[in-house]
Amino acid sequence: MKLFVYTGCLGAILCLQSCGGGLIKNKNNDADQTSSKSLKSKIPVPVATDNLVIGDEKDLTGYWVGTFGPDKTDADTLDYDDGDAEYNKINISIDTINGNKVNGHTVIAGKVRFFKCSMVTTGSKYQFTFKGGADEKGPGTFKFSIARGDSLLSGRWDAGDKIPAHSFALTKNLFRYNPNWKIGTGRYVDYNKGKKVTEKIDSNTYENERYFTTSDDVEKYNPSTEVLTKEYIANLKKGDFLVLRNSIFARHGYTFKKPQLNLYFSQQPWYVPLSNDVTAELTATEKKNIALMMPYEKNAKEYYDAFGR
């Protein structure tokens, strides 16, 4: 009789099979930014003069970098002291100018898009207009101008009535990689924290994982300048790993698809979005740190809050 009940009990336990797996391991469905996919078409690097104020046409080529996002109505801006804090960075690169033929590319939220257009010179203004997408859905039109004697590239991206226009004012950026750039200006916070949210990125639907915010630990060491110790890495949480490892890529100008990472690094004053593949740029120290962090990060993601050690 008792044995019969024992057997029944065992059967009931085995019915829990379906839920058991989730207790010992989390699904690792985080799309990774470290992809080693190599870009088919090489991203051109414009030859830029050191003049940040435009003297003549030669000074136009280069990276033009600044914040980029939908224009806020008066009602929106009431909520923010600093509207820029909500914006991501954009890089409009003017690669070459031949006569009035312009080649360039834009780097926005994980995407590099090439453009060709003609430059129209009216008075002291150089004007550019080309069709191209941005972070919002739908094709749009970039229209901007730079005045001689000025350091600002200002313009607008429009994509019809349904999508808010994006106004921008960019400055020329003479990007030079610097491993000493520190991450700061507040913590990485996932604004969807505490919720499971489904969101669409690049026509794929993701069930967004909840992230912990980072601790102050991420500002302690710089993985671009020093090889991290095992003791330090072993005690990091997954939010720390996410920011720390991606800071390496951010220093080289990796453009992030993941909205929270894009926003976080866009707030770093030194950050310039350049490319969607920076693998070739990594230094030996950085490669070593990425290799060191990878297994711990995987462990932190999959097992931190699971039944296990």
């Binding site: 009990c9 009931a12 099979q17 005690n235 462990n299 809050d305 296990g308 050690r309």
Partner: protein, 232 residues
Amino acid sequence: MPLNNDRYILTAGYLLWYGVLLFFAYLMLLITLQYIPIRTDAAFLLTKQDVVGMLHYRIAFFAHVFTGMFILMSGMLQFPAYVRKYFPAVHKWSGRVYAFGIIVIAGPAGFVMGWYGNGGPLSQAAFCILAVLWIVFTWKAVAAAMARNIAVHKRWMYRSYALTLSAISLRAWKWLIVFLFAPRPMDVYHIVSWLGWTGNLLIAELIIYFMFKKRKSGSISAAAPVPAAGMA
């Protein structure tokens, strides 16, 4: 056999206890299965990449992990009075598997793993002490059984199995602490490396104390089933 309420409650308590135990044993099985086929880049081993290259560590780790399941299950068979009464051979042979598994394989292997353990000297000490006590307690239980000293055998088996169950309680504590406070991973590890087995041992001592105290006062007859419930 008189069936009164007390007896029903007791039986229900046992069933619940074994149910919980089986559930956690099942989770342990799932953890073990992650390393099949032999993998050095899964789960816990992700944090052991610096030592997993050493052959003796790999031997110790896989020996510990794969015998663990058998020890847990054979240990569970030791306690029900039903098995001891009607299937003494099962008791005897599963007891041999249990003792051999700990004293010869999982115990020494656990010591090697503790030696290279995560969390620095403090946690390493915890795991090494745990391994030594596990072997000693189990050996004491075997020696008492061979000397036909059943009362002493029972006491050491409670202690031994309490340490065996630290495999479960360590992970349960870790889950609970992370769930409640979400501290950094190594901070949790420092805590559970000690809490995981000292708590169990304390409970085992309490069970032993009250069981034998009741025996002496005679409030429960000697034929009453030994409560296997309460540990971990």
